[in-house]
Symmetry: C2
Amino acid sequence: MKIILIRINKLHLNFAQAGFNEYQKRLQHYCNFTDELLLVNCKSKEAGMIKKTEADAILKKIQPTDFVVLLDETGKHLSSEKWAHQLEQYQSLHKQLVFVIGGAYGFDEVVYKRANALLSFSTFTYSHQLMPMLFGEQLYRAFTILKGEPYHHA
Amino acid sequence: MKIILIRINKLHLNFAQAGFNEYQKRLQHYCNFTDELLLVNCKSKEAGMIKKTEADAILKKIQPTDFVVLLDETGKHLSSEKWAHQLEQYQSLHKQLVFVIGGAYGFDEVVYKRANALLSFSTFTYSHQLMPMLFGEQLYRAFTILKGEPYHHA
């Protein structure tokens, strides 16, 4: 299975980029993982307009048969074990799995409409700068759980 | 109010240390924050023994009047706004607030017994390497919420 992460704009915190790089490197042992970085430059500073511009860029990257999971505060809260088994199920049912991390203001309605599932990383709001790293770590953790490797201490 | 973070052993991932440093620096504008790093070297490799050794070191650093909050998966799940207001309440009631991040295996029972509150950062298990950074970001976010500063987009 191919796993794609769509995300908006470069990370400006160096450690956030370094953290994401680390987990991206580790993931290469477990899956075909692609980082799809969208450079979105919206002239407006209004949150709604920014979300619409980002939504256009996101939807252009998604194929009709893709299974699309948004990383979103309103999504499902899972344990790492349940998430690993969810991922295993996705792998058995879909060829290409697309995860999307929104911009600083979240997603426009049209992105929610296209989504097949929503996954929450916390009841807290985390900086969207940290999300690629957190997603990378959790995806890596899921594969180590499914392979019975010692990374995860239940 | 003084805020102390107790944590176990050095971070070996450079980006995790750099991330924590960044938020620690930002926090200096908002509170008297101290990072209390405990170097715990347990001869045993057994999880229970490691937790007991860590517990001894943790409890030695805690004063009887401290309000102690463990960062723990079994703790309360709050939104960033609710967490900010919780923090404000703690500030009004206690002189010294101590947060504790456990080691790779979590906390021994005696640490749970001393704790005044438990706070969860996710239903996911995150690497304990990432926890100081995540805690720093969320504490920083809380202060910006309480001050009405534009960092947090609700």
